[in-house]
């Protein structure tokens, strides 16, 4: 309480110190880059040009730096390249996105330690079992005597955590972003109040409708392309699509301590021609060192055809994600064979180029039986299934890995890729939950864990007799 009172007094003091001051501020903000680095040379050149014209130009990121490019995600130090590039481009601030947790808290600590810019987040609560080092909730900039306070927020999903695998956020709790924003309204007393909100546009609109004290919301998470910003309840809401295709440019004009205008536009980075040669050189060096051909394990014998490759891929899901059963569709297998010998990361990406998300559904025996009857060509792990068809009547015998009949009264944790979920109509009481991991990354982890995989002689797991 005393700490909060002190902060309030400090902010008010800064505010009164800033009364009557003028400032022209430019904030460039990227969101949801997901490891896409190709446009950084253009962003860097653009930022430097603006910075020369107006020293009060800032470069922020609104989270989800990681997950989406093997060059960044599979680097020996996961995520290192993009943080390194962001350091050199000159970012000063980033919120934490849900995908910042994808490599685990220890790795996130390393990336935060590596960053020469600051990460902020106000709605993370740190428990005893968490390993994430506590982050500052906000940062205050003093610009020609005008204060600009920036508060960081992360989205919270229906399970009470951000969209990442639950194991990545052990020991952490997450408060409601809207409620948290309400606790920091005092930041609005001191000049400009900016929210760096990785919560999605719908949540941003709700926050804006509740708190007109906020001046600008720099948004992310929903990958929304808001062309010239949206004004709700007097709050300017922005978002710049995703994957570093655009940068949002927000201009705030302050006269005599009051905001007289705030505007936003999207700059299409693909349409810019000027590049920062130093950043281009840095990206090229990461690309030439790309470890796509890195050996991740070994095939003890040739793994050939959908039956054997499918067994490898579905076993990866059950083994690595603690699922009872896993299904994949045969159309998702895009190569015919993994030769005996070394398996590289590129082989996995060729085998499974889609990298679909995995969905977990709790299914009853009856639901499982109906699912199998409709999808007899699917690839499966965790069970074997014999379907016998006799005069329009079909009987299904499902056994577990040990050959024992499945318990009809039990419920089973079933994993499948999001493509199956969305395209196959099947009865299931549980809506299912995204596991926030994708099939190719799990397969890489499985092969790395096993060192040697042997699928040269696996029996068919679903058989149909007529």
């Amino acid at each position: 309480m005393i700490k909060f009172r002190f902060i309030r007094i400090l902010v008010l003091a800064l505010f009164f110190a800033g009364c009557g001051k003028d400032a022209e501020i430019i904030i460039l903000c990227t969101n949801d880059m997901h490891g896409n680095i190709d446009n950084f040379p253009k962003l860097s050149a653009y930022y430097r040009k603006l910075k020369v014209e107006n020293p009060n130009t800032f470069l922020f990121s609104d989270g989800d730096l990681f997950s989406g490019n093997p060059l960044v995600d599979q680097y020996i130090e996961k995520g290192y390249p993009i943080v390194d590039i962001m350091n050199k481009v000159g970012y000063s601030l980033s919120s934490i996105g849900n995908h910042e947790f994808d490599y685990g808290q220890e790795t996130l600590n390393k990336r935060i330690g590596q960053a020469e810019f600051q990460f902020i987040c106000a709605n993370i609560k740190y428990g005893e079992n968490s390993t994430l080092k506590p982050l500052e909730p906000y940062r205050v900039f003093n610009i020609n005597g005008v204060t600009m306070s920036v508060l960081g927020l992360i989205e919270v999903g229906s399970g009470g955590i951000p969209a990442t695998h639950p194991g990545n956020v052990t020991g952490l709790k997450f408060a409601s972003p809207a409620k948290t924003a309400g606790e920091y309204l005092f930041l609005g007393n001191g000049g400009i109040f900016v929210l760096l909100s990785h919560t999605g546009v719908e949540s941003d609109v709700k926050i804006a409708e509740k708190y007109p004290e906020i001046d600008v919301i720099l948004g992310g998470h929903s990958h929304t392309k808001i062309n010239n910003g949206m004004v709700k309840n007097g709050v300017l809401i922005t978002q710049a699509s995703s994957k570093l295709r655009y940068v949002g440019e927000t201009r705030i004009s302050v006269k005599k301590g009051k905001i007289v205008s705030k505007t936003n536009k999207l700059v299409d980075l693909n349409k810019l021609s000027e590049e920062d040669p130093e950043i281009r050189k840095l990206i090229d060096s990461y690309k030439s060192a790309d470890k796509g051909n890195k050996v991740i394990g070994r095939a003890a014998s040739k793994i050939s055809g959908k039956k054997q490759l499918g067994a490898l891929m579905t076993d990866a899901l059950t083994e690595m994600l603690d699922l009872d059963i896993a299904f994949l569709n045969p159309g998702g297998i895009r190569i015919g064979v993994i030769p005996k010998g070394d398996i590289t990361m590129n082989t996995v990406y060729a085998l499974d180029p889609f990298g679909n998300d995995i969905v977990k559904i709790i299914m009853s025996y009856d639901e499982l039986e109906k699912f199998l009857l409709k999808n007899q060509t699917f690839l499966v792990s965790g069970i074997s299934c014999a379907i016998t068809s006799k005069e329009k009547k079909k009987t299904v015998k499902i056994t577990d890995r040990n050959g024992a009949m499945l318990d009809k009264s039990k419920k089973y944790a079933v994993g499948m890729n999001s493509y199956i979920y969305s395209t196959c109509k099947f009865a299931h009481e549980d809506e299912g939950t995204a596991m926030n991991v994708n099939t190719s990354d799990i397969l890489i982890k499985y092969i790395e864990t096993m060192h040697t995989v042997d699928y040269g002689n696996v029996p068919a797991r679903i058989t149909v007799k007529k």
Partner: protein
């Protein structure tokens, strides 16, 4: 979670993305995504990897010239 695509209610798994909704609505759209645009309820374009929330509304429109 329930979301709406072109005002049609769709039930999806918790944590689903825009592409999952589009795929469930009409898989042809995702195959020919460059001929379509996906808008949110405010009329903003949304990327297929974007996150959805309970009650989200999406609108799929064929783009001009296609």
């Amino acid at each position: 979670m329930k979301i709406f695509v072109n005002n049609k209610e769709i039930t999806l798994f918790r944590g689903a993305k825009v592409k999952d909704a589009v795929l469930m609505f009409d898989r042809k759209v995702l195959r020919e995504i460059s001929s379509y645009e996906i808008l949110d309820k405010y009329g903003n374009q949304t990327d297929v990897d974007g996150a959805l929330q309970e009650g989200s509304r999406l609108f799929i429109r064929k783009t001009e010239g296609n």
